[in-house]
């Protein structure tokens, strides 16, 4: 018999008043896999996680975690999952250690086990020195790590991470990434939501792109990137320059459509991510006699994914890239 998938969702629907958060969401995550659920704000990522973690009842459709239905067998589901939400779900007045011991006890660990495991996790997540301090004195990164530790204390087989690095500084983000990769090698099934293509690319074995409460594309990061193209090259033209000529020149090197923005002064296209691509484009522009004031190459953003998948801009509000800069 085939192994039961860690997470299955079939045609999940959830509405809040007039807002349709999930509109027939399908997912299937095999045991031990890491699925990155990628989408802009309001795509339904958090709702999907909350339904799968038994916090929300779906209006229609069904979902199972390790074969247990999230509505009918919610108690069984809760025994096998861990959840780290977007906002650290901790008691701010208690110490870090007290929080972990409390969640450990509530996760059915004995007192001794809860204490031992809390100590282990505090050490592992670099929180041992702060263990005796109230959580309200923690930095955002520490809080997030403690929250993740709290989700892990009961040794869940399936872990949901809802935007685990949103709002973190680059250093804390890098620490979180290391921790998440460690978990994955330990065999935990992970579903992580993110607004960052780069994050999904780095962590996930499969990516599902979600928009308007449905999955619009699914595949390995490489398959997805093949659709999106690798890097983005943007030319800023001198005023009065011939945009059509620039487009034609760039299209010879592009792997996708060439677009024009900023009043005809910016030309953008997907280009292969290889050394020397910039030099090649500059040479081609030179021989065409084009005057360019700036040339920039960057990794594709979530907007590029949406543009490639749907032919339209994705999020209304522009997500920050993991580098801290503005995408597009």
């Amino acid at each position: 018999m085939a192994e039961v998938p860690a997470i299955e969702a079939e045609a999940l629907v959830k509405t809040f008043g007039a807002t349709v958060a999930l509109n027939g969401l399908d997912l299937c995550v095999p045991q031990g896999a890491i699925l990155g659920l990628l989408g802009p704000n309001g795509a339904g990522k958090t709702t999907a996680v909350r339904v799968l973690a038994t916090l929300l009842r779906p209006d229609a459709g069904r979902a199972r975690v390790l074969g247990a239905d999230v509505v009918a067998q919610a108690a069984d589901v809760r025994r096998s999952i861990g959840l780290t939400g977007q906002y650290a779900a901790l008691d701010n007045s208690l110490t870090g250690r007290a929080n972990l011991v409390m969640v450990g006890r509530l996760s059915r660990l004995s007192r001794a086990e809860a204490w031992t495991r809390a100590g282990e996790l505090l050490d592992r997540f670099g929180l041992a020195d702060a263990a005796g301090r109230a959580v309200k004195t923690y930095s955002g990164g520490m809080r997030r790590r403690l929250d993740l530790a709290a989700s892990l204390i009961g040794r869940p087989e399936v872990l949901f991470l809802d935007e685990p690095t949103t709002g973190l500084d680059p250093r804390s983000r890098a620490i979180m990434w290391d921790i998440i990769r460690d978990l994955a090698t330990g065999g935990t099934t992970l579903l992580l939501t993110t607004q960052y293509l780069e994050e999904a690319d780095r962590l996930a074995s499969r990516i599902a792109v979600i928009d308007g409460g449905v999955v619009i594309a699914e595949g390995s990061p490489d398959q997805l990137k093949a659709k999106v193209g690798d890097d983005r090259l943007t030319l800023t033209l001198a005023p009065g320059a011939d945009a059509a000529l620039a487009m034609a020149t760039l299209s010879a090197h592009a792997t996708g459509p060439v677009t024009v923005g900023a009043g005809g002064l910016q030309v953008t296209a997907a280009v292969p991510a290889r050394d020397g691509i910039t030099t090649d484009v500059v040479r081609a522009l030179d021989s065409a006699g084009m005057d360019v004031t700036d040339i920039a190459v960057r990794r594709p953003s979530l907007d590029d994914v949406f543009l490639a998948l749907t032919g339209r801009e994705g999020a209304g509000d522009q997500a920050e890239t993991p580098h801290g800069g503005k995408a597009a």
Binding site: L55, L56, G82, A89, D91, S93, L94, A98, A134
Partner: protein
């Protein structure tokens, strides 16, 4: 050959085995519910230990009321049937000071929802009821502290118990029972409100008239007839009258013909029972359906 094996009928998939397990698991569930409630009680107590200022509503506030009413208003309030106002007041304070933590219950629950920790609890394999049981148990402990503070303050301003220890304990017991039952009203309030500020304000707005339209601070004899009916049937009046009777303190409401004033102990039991029967299932239901 797998194709020739006959699958057992679906009904045989659930023989006695799982059912027995379920019965066992009911006991286990109960013991887990107790254990989970104790963990969450410990959580709330640990919070108080770290932030003792959260106890103000059962310590400083009743203390202030005792002092204000004995020394500022007390001299101007005459008791039908006579007796010391200082002794009269303390029975009223037991009702008010103990049940006065109910708005705090609402505030604490709203804060938990805001902090997201309730989401954490809801995703754990823990007892559903434990969140509310743990909260109300911890509040009962703070109410015991409140009762002790009021008793000490009372002794300091001249209040005395004129009956035996059994009666005195019965008075404490009734006041705490009502306080605990009333806490569940606070839980319901916490379930409907979205902000801590709203819980604080609404708690105060609802609580204040309930406190004052009673015999807690002044005998109801001086109120207009229509208000007097409300005051005599107010559960807080029954708590105050029961405490006064059991402590052997002056009890002008003994002269009032309304049923609860003639049978205050029974009335407290009834009111507490009604509060528990109404608010506990309501609170549990509201919690189960919260944000789903």
């Amino acid at each position: 050959m797998t194709s020739t094996t006959i699958a057992p009928p679906a009904t045989l998939d659930r023989p006695r085995g799982p059912q027995r397990r379920q019965r066992e698991s009911r006991w286990r569930r109960l013991s887990w519910a107790v254990s989970d409630s104790l963990v969450l009680t410990w959580r709330s107590v640990a919070r108080i230990a770290r932030e003792p200022e959260t106890l103000m509503d059962v310590t400083v506030q009743p203390l202030m009321f005792v002092l204000l009413f004995t020394y500022v208003f007390g001299g101007a309030i005459g008791l039908p049937g006579g007796g010391s106002y200082h002794e009269y007041l303390i029975g009223g304070m037991f009702g008010m000071g103990i049940a006065g933590s109910a708005p705090g219950t609402a505030v604490a629950l709203v804060a938990d929802m805001k902090e997201g920790i309730i989401d954490r609890f809801r995703s754990l394999p823990m007892s559903r009821a434990a969140v509310l049981l743990g909260r109300t148990t911890a509040d009962l402990l703070t109410q015991v502290i409140g009762a002790l503070v009021i008793a000490m303050a009372g002794l300091a301003v001249g209040w005395r118990i004129h009956t035996g220890p059994a009666d005195a304990l019965a008075a404490f017991g009734l006041a705490l029972l009502f306080g605990y039952a009333f806490t569940w009203a606070g839980v319901c309030l916490g379930m409907v409100l979205r902000s801590v500020e709203a819980a604080q304000q609404l708690g105060f707005i609802l609580f204040l008239p309930l406190m004052f339209i009673s015999n807690a601070f002044v005998p109801t004899q001086g109120m207009p007839a229509w208000l007097r009916v409300a005051a005599d049937w107010n559960p807080f009046s029954a708590v105050a009258a029961a405490c006064r009777r059991l402590f052997g303190n002056p009890d002008p409401s003994a002269l009032v013909q309304a049923w609860p004033m003639q049978h205050p102990e029974l009335a407290v039991l009834l009111w507490s029972g009604v509060a528990l029967v109404v608010f506990v299932p309501l609170a549990v239901r509201m919690y189960a359906n919260k944000n789903r």
